[in-house]
Symmetry: C2
């Protein structure tokens, strides 16, 4: 049986998909727009636009006035995916070939660019006295994502990274876009600064939790549910919460082993399993889980200054869903 929460999310997703469909429909040349339609057709979780609409409703806004903004953040998110997949050499996304794999790198570069421009164009169609401020928030958020991606790539070539630099990176790469989505939703629904700040912080904390959990799922998820190999972050020398946390607490042979993992390219399955075993043994997996729980609890608390409403409850419930996701 569908709960009210499920119905709400489904209704939002449908409206978002419809708006995006309109934006991309019948545009030419196909060599530019077909890859965009392909990238968006995969659907995905639509977390950012859904949060934007929930935040908007929670502060008293109307969905119809926030729908362009919701479509815009989803377009931006897909722009980052299309370009990141080139940079990370990822061939699969949502169970299908990535754009650069299905066509080629040039097509992926150009259609990613187009998605970013369409995102701005769509956001600019929003009717609000706040448009300049909304646009500022939007650009700042996207720039942070670029900075976060640059740091992430930098980290791949470094032997080790202090955990606070890791947090700076994920705040830019992951949390910024989620936080920005929530903030824009609020900006389009209220003038109340406290509500706007609360919702922005909620997004920030949720975004951090989301990334740490992504790191966690890479080593503990069921491969069939995850849709990719367990331990792929380890194989790509990604600096994740787990490896950095473990490294911080390890000594002797364990430390040496973790350093090896971080510098070696394409480590064996056996070493991946050994690393995961070590994470469990050292309490790193528990530390990550508790960190996720902690961020989500804090996120929930930030909502308390906003008047109670179904939408506020849905924002809370969203945190629970996130905590229990397995892909």
């Amino acid at each position: 049986m569908k709960t009210n929460f499920d119905k709400k999310i489904s209704s939002f997703k449908e409206q978002i998909s419809q708006r995006i469909g309109e934006i991309l429909a019948k545009k030419e040349p196909v060599s530019l727009y077909e890859p965009m339609r392909y990238a968006l057709a995969a659907g995905g979780k639509q977390i950012r636009p859904v949060l934007l609409l929930l935040a908007n409703e929670a502060v008293g806004g109307q969905t119809e006035h926030a729908l362009n903004a919701a479509a815009a953040v989803e377009l931006v998110h897909n722009f980052t995916l299309v370009h990141d997949d080139i940079m990370d050499n990822d061939d699969l996304r949502r169970g299908r070939e990535t754009v650069h794999k299905h066509w080629d790198k040039n097509v992926a570069i150009l259609s990613g660019d187009g998605l970013l421009v369409l995102a701005y164009q769509t956001l600019n169609q929003t009717t609000t006295v706040n448009l300049q401020r909304v646009m500022t928030t939007f650009s700042k958020g996207i720039l942070k994502v670029c900075e976060g991606q640059a740091l992430d790539k930098e980290f791949e070539n470094r032997d080790s990274v202090p955990i606070d630099e890791y947090f700076t990176m994920i705040e830019k790469k992951t949390a910024a876009l989620i936080s920005m989505s929530c903030k824009i939703g609020a900006l389009l629904g209220t003038e109340n600064r406290d509500y706007i700040l609360a919702v922005e912080k909620y997004g920030h904390l949720l975004g951090r939790a989301f990334q740490i959990q992504d790191d966690l799922l890479d080593v503990i998820a069921d491969e069939r549910v995850l849709g990719k190999n367990v331990g792929s972050d380890l194989q790509e020398n990604k600096k994740t919460f787990l490896i950095l946390h473990a490294l911080q607490n390890a000594s002797g042979a364990n430390r040496k082993f973790l350093k090896e993992i971080l510098s070696e390219k394409n480590i064996s399955r056996q070493k991946v399993e050994q690393a995961i075993h070590l994470f469990a043994e050292m309490g790193t997996i528990d530390a990550a889980k508790s960190r996720v729980r902690h961020e989500l609890e804090e996120a929930k608390e930030t909502l308390s200054i906003i008047p109670d409403s179904p939408a506020r409850e849905y924002l809370s419930h969203f945190l629970k869903i996130l905590l229990n996701r397995n892909y």
Copy 2:
């Protein structure tokens, strides 16, 4: 001796460079911003921002209110160069290594993205009641550039292209950004619709002439001045005004030869010279020159409805400079 025109252009260029310098200064991480600073440091002709400021002044605007917009169009132009150089596999730009050559493709993708976002961010700092309209014009222009680039890449894989499709392509790839720059300059200086339309059309015609002349310079310029090999468009199977015009008028052995040129990869120097010789013989080079002159004359005429002023004269003079450029 410097003319008033030269002084004006120098003063504009200085202000544009200074504003861009401010925008890019001290930003981190360096792995993202250093390539952007590198791309912009080469300077270039700054045609688009200079035209924006001239158009603005010609319709009665004030430079200080248009400077962010001028910087924004130059940032966008450089975004297109950084990404196009990846797609076209070009290793040299303005006598220096391109970003993807100096660093790598990933760096070029990401710093190009960053330039586009900074362009929007900078334009959004403009103080004007027209901001939403300016933003709409901006997005439309950039989207056309993406579409034009997509068509240009499509054309490379086609045996032949009708000349009207060529014009559609260059209107998007080259004229759109120049026309948009002029229009935004006007939007920031006047409410007069006729002036705005005139200046937009001026940019459109100038942009077309600019591209046809680019095609022309590829075969008639002095290599040392041009900074690249003569005939490089021919070697990349680019569909230029010259080859399409020649093909349209050729028959028999000439037609067969031109078809060969269009389908062969990396043709020999001898064939390049043979093609250029054929262009001259068939009157294609004269046709291109006369087309450029015609577009520029028309561009000059469109300015006639704008009240006479030094700035309007400079816009006219700009056309002469363009007609006589040799690189």
